[in-house]
């Protein structure tokens, strides 16, 4: 019993930090550009597929971990420049339709290129066994995912709090026009944030693609979870997304222990409750602004 709770905790944390990688991009993109990016799940999926191809073709997981986010980042840049940018300043609804269209498109492309069957990214050789700590035996690779994601999140967190770029991002989420008038080319920042978010989602796709199967439904599967996280955390808040992702990760893991069929229900009830109690999410900016 204790073991299963500890394991579920580890799983919940691991899911939390990887979900946070996906949700971080989503929330930052919303914060700065007011874009509700429905295609974000598709970018995560592309990460999984590029990761799979690279890992199997070059036989190196590490190449996949580095290259897939770069490729998806470049695709994200193109997406931002050619489809999103002309729509800035319009009602965010149009971005919903646009990115919905993009998600459908990318899914079609994935089916064309990779086909419909489930794949899995081969794990790196060093992480095949499992580790036993106290009462818990846990697969090494899963711990690796937990550690790597946590490290990346911490670095991002620190950067957002302290670096010039982080200050820039927070300021842009607040008032892009003012940032622009201070002499900063905001459209470059937009592209940068979008690329960054896309690469993070792709990174999560590679990391999870070696524990979960890579399949054409994975993008649409994660986007709703990501939305729930972003909404609970507060649209535009990175900090909120991280906390909410951990919350959702743990709810998912514990929910499976308690009442598997109702886990999904918990997520939405949680989201509804948070919105009713704090309409702008846990760390929403609306009240402060």
């Amino acid at each position: 019993m204790i073991e299963s709770i500890l394991r579920a905790t580890l799983l919940g944390l691991q899911l939390g930090v990887t979900f946070a990688l996906v949700a971080a991009g989503l929330t930052l993109i919303f914060g700065m550009m007011d874009v509700i990016n429905f295609a974000h799940g598709a970018l995560y999926m592309l990460g999984g597929y590029f990761g799979y191809t690279i890992a199997t073709q070059f036989g190196s997981f590490w190449a996949a971990l580095v290259l897939a986010p770069i490729i998806v980042g470049v695709l994200g840049a193109a997406m931002e420049k050619f489809t999103l940018r002309p729509l800035y300043g319009r009602n965010p609804l149009y971005h919903i339709l646009l990115t919905y269209g993009l998600a459908v498109m990318i899914q079609g492309v994935v089916l064309e290129v990779w086909g419909a069957s489930s794949q899995q990214i081969p794990r790196p050789g060093q992480f095949t066994g499992s580790i036993t700590v106290g009462p818990v035996t846990y697969p090494t690779y899963w711990l690796f995912v937990l550690v790597v994601s946590t490290v990346i999140l911490t670095v991002i967190w620190y950067a957002i709090e302290n670096s010039n770029l982080g200050i820039l991002m927070r300021a842009s989420a607040h008032d892009t026009e003012m940032v622009n008038a201070l002499g900063i080319d905001v459209s470059k920042v937009f592209t940068g944030v979008f690329v960054f978010g896309a690469a993070l989602a792709a990174l999560a796709g590679v990391l999870l693609g070696a524990t979960r199967s890579v399949n054409p439904g994975m993008g649409a599967g994660i986007i709703i979870e990501a939305f729930v996280i972003v909404v609970i955390g507060g649209l535009g808040s990175f900090k909120g997304a991280v906390y909410a992702a951990l919350l959702i990760g743990l709810v998912t893991a514990y929910g499976a222990l308690v009442a598997p069929t109702l886990t999904e229900l918990f997520l939405f009830v949680l989201m509804a409750v948070v919105l009713l109690v704090r309409p702008s999410g846990l760390f929403g900016a609306t009240e402060a602004a």
């Binding site: 509700i36 800035y88 339709l97 459908v104 899914q107 509804a272 919105l275």
Partner: protein
């Protein structure tokens, strides 16, 4: 501009105004009414021909009408009253399930079942709305999404049966199947043509009712809420209650659409309630033209037609996705908006297209 400003604009609908045709005046101008009547007449005449030559097209048409009704019900609350509901699938699905259950257990009489579908749609909408109408903009959308997904999961996991300890109520992931079509006083409406006429009649009537309500004192208050929610409150209207009632009315028509769709398909499946249905509906609305009432029906028609036609192409998702992307970038007022511009001033339409293209080039150059 700040996010919060957009949200405010979204909430009070000032951005949408420009997309919405006919705001500030009558919903559905008299020339548009004539158009609706003509199209309706054509459909009445065309139906038996289609039935005799290619019943498949009659089927498509029936589906388009049902989805058109669903789209108009959403347009009433979203395009007209400015509340983006991301949970319309819940009312649609529960209305459908109610019909399925009643038909299998009680009666196939449409005069009994359909009103109850409407009541169930209203009830679910009132429940969701009661929690959600206090929120605005994106938050309203997210709340409706959350509650609708709750209904989806409840039906998918057959929670009522689990709670009551009976074998099945919603049929879980299988849904309810073998649902017969309606009869009215012993007249079977099982065939394609009778069912088409039933649907057609009800959709037309619903359309007329919604247009009428939109043009009623109540409806005008909704329009004002879309434009400036706060001020409506400060000229003495109970805005929350207006929103709740509007959402409930809209839910009733969504329930009716479900009640028409389920016997038509002979199954009620949990997929009816999934968020993707709500998402597809919004696509239909934006594609057709928000706030125009007739545009969304057109949008429903185009989406269903494209899905059917492109289904022969291996890459159809890519094509469909591209169509959405192009429309959204170059024709933000939807098909209805483009048609209106084209009809009123063809030269301006050409100009606008040129403008749209050059501003696109401009924006990607930077």
């Amino acid at each position: 501009m700040k996010a919060s400003e957009y949200l405010e604009e979204l909430a009070d609908g000032t951005v949408l105004d420009r997309a919405a045709a006919g705001s500030g005046s009558e919903v559905l101008s008299s020339s548009q009414r004539v158009g609706v009547v003509i199209i309706a007449a054509v459909l009445v005449v065309f139906a038996p021909i289609a039935d005799a030559t290619s019943p498949f097209w009659l089927n498509i048409l029936t589906r388009i009408l049902i989805f058109g009704l669903l789209a108009v019900s959403l347009d009433f609350i979203f395009g007209y009253a400015g509340l983006l509901s991301f949970g319309h699938a819940a009312m649609y699905g529960t209305g459908g399930y109610a019909a399925a259950w009643l038909i299998s257990e009680v009666t196939t009489n449409a005069l009994v079942v359909l009103p109850l579908s409407i009541v169930v749609g209203c009830g679910v909408a009132a429940f969701i709305g009661w929690f959600s109408v206090r929120a605005r903009g994106i938050y309203f959308a997210m709340l409706t999404l959350a509650f609708a997904q709750v209904f989806y999961v409840v039906i998918l996991t057959d929670l009522p049966a689990q709670v009551l300890g009976v074998e099945t109520i919603t049929g879980a992931d299988d849904g309810l199947f073998g649902i017969a079509r309606y009869g009215v006083f012993g007249i079977e409406l099982g065939g394609g043509l009778p069912y088409f006429y039933l649907t057609f009649g009800l959709v037309l009537a619903s359309f007329a009712v919604l247009v009428r309500v939109a043009n009623s004192p109540f409806g005008r208050v909704l329009q004002a809420i879309r434009e400036n929610e706060d001020r409506v409150e400060f000229i003495g209207y109970n805005v929350q209650r207006y929103k709740l009632i509007a959402f409930t009315i809209s839910g009733g028509f969504a329930g009716l659409a479900g009640g028409l769709y389920v016997p038509f398909q002979s199954v009620a499946s949990p997929g009816l309630l999934n968020w993707t249905v709500s998402g597809e509906l919004i696509v239909m609305l934006l594609l057709g033209g928000l706030g125009t009432f007739w545009g969304p029906i057109l949008g429903a028609g185009v989406v269903i037609f494209l899905e059917e036609q492109l289904a022969g192409f291996a890459t159809w998702e890519i094509i469909l996705g591209t169509v959405f992307v192009v429309v959204v970038i170059f024709a933000p007022r939807g098909i209805a908006g483009s048609l209106e511009t084209l009809a009123s001033d063809p030269r301006a339409a050409v100009e606008r297209t040129k403008e749209a293209l050059s501003s696109y080039r401009e924006s990607i150059k930077r």
